[in-house]
């Protein structure tokens, strides 16, 4: 008897070990995948730079001929310097992981410092460091292209005495605009979803009569969590986009319609979580408040609501996680155009839609996608920690410790 129970216990116990082992294994493999793929491209420039790069077309101005710009300076192995032109070029990778030829040094008197703009703008150009050289074209012979590398470009330059055209650009590929969009979306969505969600939860828990209708309503709200988010996206496209176009200066999908769509997605989560936390507020509190002469409304808003504060924070946290992670709905409701100048009346991409855009590129940019995933993980983690900190502070202040 005792022996068989021991066996049973052992089996049950090992099932729990096994289950936790599987979940740990899955978690670690995801983390490993994300970090191994994405760590290489992770740097500050990615977060601060614009996505769009600007191209410039230029040629030489008041040019008499190349000079002698020999300098006493050590360069890296993959950097090549032309003493005839006073310019150093490096083989490098840009923020998106594509190989480029980067300007790493320009001599102060180099002819590259004094360029004529061949575009429509009249102001002169000057080549500085951190620009990418795309091509240098010559009147005699083929052009030097960035795909052939920095060494070839310097070699070709050294054999020429002038060039016809220089094409260079700022480095693009940054995700600054998408980070700003994500923050906007979080703010706007919470602004819409929290009051409505918390209000609905208060009604359901405090005011609603306990009858069939309330039960049906609650079930319906719970069912909403199972609807695929792409359906919400289509609803946003069909309903919120036209509404925002007619009410604001927006002309197409925009951040407001995206926030409205997200708010609808989040409503069930917020209502559910808030209601759970309202349920655990002890009835003694309500009765005490009523006994002291407070009416129903005062009791609800001044006693019950502050006591449920930690639950509302949890709801907010869940909501933020969902907003950052959502992509399917936003592809329809906000669009997939990556923007640097974010306006709430215009299309833009959140970080997860940015990943979507990178994965639909030809060929898909898996490295940059996982790098953005790391950034999302860091944002979620820091928000988690800060909200926990805030809630601890507030709880101490209000003195409600019913957890």
């Amino acid at each position: 008897m005792l022996n068989s129970r021991k066996k049973k216990d052992l089996i049950l116990q090992s099932i729990t070990y096994f289950a936790s082992f599987i979940s740990l294994f899955v978690l670690i493999s995801i983390l490993l995948f994300v970090f191994l793929n994405g760590f290489k491209l992770l740097n500050m420039d990615l977060i601060t730079h614009n996505f769009e790069s600007t191209s410039y077309i230029a040629d030489l101005k008041d040019f008499t001929g190349p000079g002698d710009f020999t300098i006493d300076k050590d360069f890296n192995d993959n950097t090549y310097y032309s003493s005839k032109w006073g310019i150093a070029l490096t083989d490098d990778e840009n923020l998106m992981g594509h190989t480029i030829v980067l300007v790493t040094y320009v001599h102060p008197e180099s002819p590259f410092k004094d360029l004529r703009n061949k575009g429509v703008a009249t102001q002169d150009l000057s080549l500085g460091i951190d620009y990418e050289i795309i091509r240098i074209a010559f009147n005699d012979g083929p052009s030097a292209l960035s795909i052939q590398g920095a060494q070839n470009m310097i070699h070709v330059l050294d054999t020429k005495t002038t060039f016809r055209e220089l094409e260079y650009s700022t480095s693009g590929g940054g995700i600054r605009g998408s980070i700003i969009t994500t923050l906007y979306l979080i703010g706007l969505t919470l602004l819409i979803a929290l009051p409505i969600g918390v209000g609905a939860a208060l009604y359901l828990n405090e005011y609603a009569p306990k009858n069939r209708f309330t039960k049906a309503l609650r079930n319906l709200i719970e069912t909403l969590t199972g609807v695929p988010s792409i359906i919400y996206g289509l609803m946003g496209l069909a309903l919120f986009v036209p509404i925002t176009i007619s009410l604001t200066k927006a002309t197409g999908a925009n951040l407001i319609s995206g926030a409205l769509t997200l708010a609808v997605i989040l409503m069930p989560v917020i209502i559910r979580t808030t209601e759970e936390s309202l349920k655990v507020v002890p009835d003694d509190y309500r009765q005490a408040s009523l006994a002291l002469g407070g009416n129903k409304t005062q009791t609800t808003f001044k006693i019950v609501l502050p006591s449920a504060f930690s639950g509302i924070l949890t709801a907010t946290l869940l909501a933020i996680g969902r907003i950052i992670g959502e992509s399917a709905a936003l592809v329809f409701a906000v669009g997939t155009a990556i923007k640097d100048d974010v306006s709430i009346f215009d299309k833009s991409t959140s970080l997860s839609v940015h990943i979507w855009a990178m994965m639909t590129d030809e060929p898909a940019n898996i490295e940059l996608s996982t790098t953005i995933a790391i950034i999302i993980l860091v944002i979620v983690l820091s928000m988690n920690l800060s909200i926990k900190l805030i809630s601890k502070r507030l709880l101490r202040k209000y003195g409600v410790t019913h957890e």
Partner: protein, 309 residues
């Protein structure tokens, strides 16, 4: 704590064990055949090239058990599936997979340019009909862009992005006077580009370079496939937001697509080579059109059939 560490160590060793696998190639294994879907220009170019034109538009003639994937899907599958075979554009080829020589000629840009590499397809462009634009500015910019495609400046950009430009010596400097629209500020003009997604990278580089030369007009890119090049420039009206001013196809236009399109509204801008790719452990380095056809129609089902030839 010690228990947690033990579980962690176990998890790590499991994941490491899953990663390391034997690298010996067993040629008695069945070939897994990968292909693009029937709307793909790469597929049309590949099937026409190996003499299996019936497979360009129909899945029924292909070997049983083939796998349909997009460009990226074929690349990543070939990195893990030792017994797979697929095909991609030369511009997508990288060192995670093995590109096979075709009829004894290595897939390099030089071999495509000197016309020895046989498996290639054209990159084509198509514009809207004359007068079918929102404004004359857009029409003039489109005409200027088409002229730019024939210059050596555009050829540089095309070559720089992995495709192979047509031979030309005309420079943009020598013809830009014919397109006065490019001398003014066009920052408020938007031109919509679309069509084949295989050309997207090249097309974006071209419009970025041309925008700097033509008053910084805005180029909006939305690439959905070669089939949409004709549809969205010719059959879809301007009021529809998906309509395009210029669109690209990574295959020759079909006869049905040329009906009613002026000769000046379409043309070729470049060549692109298609490369048959396999896993790095695969010992074969060269493949012929006949072998590829035999693999894709199911005559050869095992790798030993290919190797024994």
């Amino acid at each position: 704590m010690r228990k947690i560490l033990a579980v962690l160590a176990l998890a790590l060793s499991f994941s490491l064990a899953a990663c390391t696998s034997g690298s010996s190639f067993d040629d008695s294994k069945n070939i897994t055949v990968y292909t693009r879907d029937t709307t793909s220009g790469t597929r049309a170019g590949f099937m026409d090239g190996i003499g299996f034109a019936a497979a360009a538009t129909s899945d029924d003639v292909l070997v049983e058990g083939f796998v349909i994937k997009d460009n990226t899907g074929i690349m990543t599958s070939m990195g893990t599936d030792e017994y797979g075979i697929g095909y991609v554009s030369l511009s997508s080829l990288n060192n995670t997979i093995k590109g096979l020589s075709y009829e004894g000629v290595a897939p390099t840009v030089a071999n495509v340019l000197n016309n020895t590499y046989g498996l290639k397809r054209p990159f084509m462009w198509m514009t809207r009909d004359a007068g079918d634009y929102e404004s004359t500015e857009i029409e003039q910019l489109v005409n200027a862009f088409v002229a730019f495609l024939g210059t050596s400046d555009a050829a540089d950009i095309i070559n720089n992005n992995g495709a192979i430009a047509l031979d030309t010596t005309v420079t943009w400097d020598s013809i830009k006077a014919q397109h006065p629209i490019t001398a003014r500020n066009n920052a408020n003009v938007t031109v919509r580009f679309g069509g084949s997604d295989s050309i997207q990278k090249v097309a974006q580089a071209l419009t970025q370079a041309f925008s700097a030369k033509a008053g910084n007009f805005v180029a909006e890119h939305d690439h959905t496939g070669s089939g949409d090049a004709y549809k969205r420039t010719q059959t879809i009206g301007l009021s529809d937001p998906v309509s395009k001013h210029v669109a690209f196809a990574s295959r020759y236009f079909k006869d049905t697509e040329k009906v009613g399109v002026a000769e000046s509204a379409m043309g070729q801008l470049a060549w692109d080579a298609i490369v048959a790719i396999v896993h790095k452990n695969n010992p074969i380095t060269n493949i012929t059109a006949a072998q590829l056809k035999a693999i894709y129609d199911g005559t050869y089902s095992k790798w030993s059939d290919v190797v024994s030839e």
